[in-house]
Symmetry: C2
Subunit: 662 residues, 2 copies
Amino acid sequence: MTHPFDQVTDEEIRLSSKLIKDAAKGPEKPHFIQIDRLDPPKKDMIKYLAAERAGLTTPSISRVTYVYYYLGLDFYKALINVTYGHIITNQKLPKGVIGPLLPDDVETIETLCHVHPKVVAEIEKLKLPSHIRVVCDPWMNGTDSVEDRMLIQCYMYLANAHHPESNHYSLPLKFSPVFDCLTKEFVRMDYLPAGIDETTTDTQPWTEFPFVEYHPELNNESLRPLKPLIVEQPEGPSFTVEGNKIKWQSWEFRVAPNVREGFAIYDVYFKGRSILYRLSLSEMTVPYGDPRAPYHRKQAFDLGDCGFGGNGNSLALGCDCLGVIKYMDCRRITAEGDPVFIPNTVCMHEQDAGLLYKHVNYRTNVPVVTRKREFVVQTIATVANYEYVLNIIFDQVGEIRIHVLATGILSTMPIEKDTTVPWGTNVGPMVMAAYHQHMLSFRIDPALDGHENTVVYDDVVRMPENTGLNKYNVGFVTERTYVEKSGYVDQSPFTNRSVKVINENVINPISKKPVGYKIALPARQMLLAGEDSYNNRRAQFATQQLWVTKYQDNELYAAGEFTNQSQTDTGLGVWANRGDNVRNTDNVVWATLGFTHIPRTEDFPVMPAEAHDIAIVPFGFFDKNPALDVPQSNNAFNKSKYFKDSNDAAKAASSSCCKSSL
Amino acid sequence: MTHPFDQVTDEEIRLSSKLIKDAAKGPEKPHFIQIDRLDPPKKDMIKYLAAERAGLTTPSISRVTYVYYYLGLDFYKALINVTYGHIITNQKLPKGVIGPLLPDDVETIETLCHVHPKVVAEIEKLKLPSHIRVVCDPWMNGTDSVEDRMLIQCYMYLANAHHPESNHYSLPLKFSPVFDCLTKEFVRMDYLPAGIDETTTDTQPWTEFPFVEYHPELNNESLRPLKPLIVEQPEGPSFTVEGNKIKWQSWEFRVAPNVREGFAIYDVYFKGRSILYRLSLSEMTVPYGDPRAPYHRKQAFDLGDCGFGGNGNSLALGCDCLGVIKYMDCRRITAEGDPVFIPNTVCMHEQDAGLLYKHVNYRTNVPVVTRKREFVVQTIATVANYEYVLNIIFDQVGEIRIHVLATGILSTMPIEKDTTVPWGTNVGPMVMAAYHQHMLSFRIDPALDGHENTVVYDDVVRMPENTGLNKYNVGFVTERTYVEKSGYVDQSPFTNRSVKVINENVINPISKKPVGYKIALPARQMLLAGEDSYNNRRAQFATQQLWVTKYQDNELYAAGEFTNQSQTDTGLGVWANRGDNVRNTDNVVWATLGFTHIPRTEDFPVMPAEAHDIAIVPFGFFDKNPALDVPQSNNAFNKSKYFKDSNDAAKAASSSCCKSSL
């Protein structure tokens, strides 16, 4: 039986597109862009989950999909009740609202780009030798004005014609065709600057230049010898899977892939207590700091413009994950509204993560020690050049860690020989990678011991000096501030500001304070683009690190529902300014994980993964360490070995760890 | 043959103490405190290392030890040439300079504390039942005045008499004897406040109160079932060990345990290029924020007061490390100057650390993917209640990560029932853990392509808005500042400030900028104690995050050589204010890793390990990703398995990773 949180099915996708096709009057056939499941209304789900948890009959909730499609040049959004098979709403969207990119359309443009006469004519000016071929990376156009057409900026590169994996990013060309994605018309040829200002040049014959190759068959590297390190789980893993429900080490939650966010996590409980209603990556924007046209428009919204799930890698055993792995799949669609199955976009597995806790009583030398096991839910999306790895990691102590890796290939621009620019790094002989930012918004819908939660922040401040109580000027205390209205919380790393979600109605009997969870983010530079810029207006979420809004259904995406070529932020930019009361009520936290990326030569031709984390950590939620029930570590269990030097074993005979009867 | 960087030997310790004993005139026998090896002079080592690397005869360099000892109440420091067996210097230190604590002396005080008439009398007032026993944790006294005696503050607790591992920290008592560590005289009885101010009470009969136990035989927990996760290295590890020299994945370096720092790492090369001369933890101070006497004095210097190596755990297979492990040992001494062998205080091993890089060519679906292997050098020190785990982690891309975990048990104070204080958290029924800070100083002696290095910092700033070039207000650039004179660098997270060590004499041919390494630290609150406080005067390093000094031999310890009951900082407080030129010369970087610890109930009775990192990362040091020579991942190598659900295998048949011929 389908759970309301289960991901969309092939049948639901087909039913949705069929209903739309049947309803479409007129000669044009619907050109589908995206279909997936909506979340059910929260008030209905709360009742459902309570009944489910109590073992009672669950109320029935219709499953609903959303459909984005074009009829000619008109963009429509429909909602379909796929339980009963009828259209709920079906509306043309206002002029200027542009749909996300459908992978099939982007592929068509890429193919067209290679054969369009205007592009062919430009390529001919290069007078390329036969061992060189042209490659096209289609990009969303971004925004610098009012533009109703869905435009595609085709960045052009060269590659080694004799190998399909030659690194075209190391040889960018200086012209870039722009197409209308829907009509397939050629719009214009942009010319790309390659020096210190916006000067462009006519296309000249190409002079031979070396590639910077990464593929092992091309990179001329002699491999370092490396011996295998294998993760074995001889008795199998310690998690269970029932439908999309995972149980692991006192955690229970559901995982549902979807085409926009990659996956969402629902109904998270730890040790029988409610923690979160929903957790997901809600948007990611990557604005570039190169001011020269056309790069001023270079700002991707990787979820809203394309879809993280739709771009999900099919993960493979022993490459992307180690140990015993469970996979889940995603679905996107074709322009005809048929489902496209993308296998294994989400992988789940355990990993060892070092020490969980240790203490040695120095008097007796008796240790208590246990290692930390983690449970990872992972997806990896490829968005043209870049790869983003998203991990949601659960540990045995009630912590949820959001762990993001950026890898893949830098987006590159041409640069003249012996030139440098202050907004980029030269990463190859005639290749520059512009400075940019990765601004990710994580939507955290808390439900700590229930849905009435409050956001607070605690600052650590010095006590007044030279007073009776603080004679020696060492004292410091915490000061708590309550977030009463929707809005944002300023960063304040030098007061050790710590943002928490608490439940004011549940008091911890030991600390005598409301139970809570801390949302730990590193202090980071936020959006650099000026207040008076499209980048800023389109992505308000990226201007602050922590937002709080009052919960409303279908407010899921930080920059709004439609980001492709958006004029303004229809998400947090609106919701956070409503002035809603957010104290002791159903609220939502939006955490911005940002990093300014100043490329380095070591990031090219493929980038070593760079990690960034948010931690969601119990803070006075439990009355003591909730992991005292994790078994002690010992070598009968973990089977480590000594380095072949035999002396270490003899020395260890006197060591007491793992000798106790525990 | 002994290498100049080899750790001290038993013979050298015995020779040193013998020479001191022979030289001591008068009736008093030397009471030894600490003996270990000094580093050789750098100008000599530079020649030695160059000859060694070239395969030539190495110059001979005398090995020298330092000896701290007392003659009666006078504190002495000697330097011994242990190669030729003579005393170099042997001097009485000025009045007021107090030696670190010798574990044997601390143990004697602890034993004495239980039997001293004044303490016994106080205990009798408690009228304890027979199932309760008293426990004593001796602490360094700290500083709040001029004090020439080495004092020990004995914090007293209760525990379950029937089990040696009962958690005494959950029942602190309200009286604390103070002893003279050398004369063993009782100095005074301090009474500890347990409320909102400094009011103390006479010792009353104890009323029964529950313990908060962690030990598995006492904590009443039912174990969570957990299946084994084993790290297997069937072909052995990929590192080699020759004496104290490690070679792993293009890295070469030496590891030498020592009694004060735990271990130091020397002569670090990656891919044949010099990176660091020396790396170590140089000091750690833990000041408490509870202003009430006697806690205003509570400030441990865990290296200078006690010694990290001397407190090193004997690490055990399968508990502290997984896989194939190589161990090294440490030595401390007895009061007679005999070596005490502490086996396996340093462990070394590999671990898998997730993805190193990945890219999928979306046109062909062909991936390049490799996993990151790391090499860990680990030590764990127990300092009474706390455990500190220090990892120095090397990866395959030229990065060195300093990874610190705090675990063990919070230091606790008594608190009256139903009372809370603004400078601490109640973590048990009548137990409070005061706020405190952990401020660690890492001494990084760089040698990037040689010893003439420069420290710079780069800020990311917006370009001026609304200009011809930056019409759309998106542009941002980096601005570099050179550190010319010794001193510190302010934190500036909102300009993405990035501190780097560069070699101005070596230009990266691709980026056209000097080669360098970045020192990445999270933005953190620094020392909270006021400028006019002993805490601040004693630990200047903790007031700023990044210091630069001109190299001089024997300037190793951030707060100075003698920290126990120090009046002032004789380390960075002096060296950073010399106004030395530090540009393009042999300089040293001191990175302060700080965290303000606001205890939470989940941290008790044992604290889940909390991690903090500094990353030392190549930044334009290489002309491209230096890990292109790491073999691609595949499942023949990694041997992962599908979750028993068989569907995943069938789906994967269409997936292309691991299908290529790579």
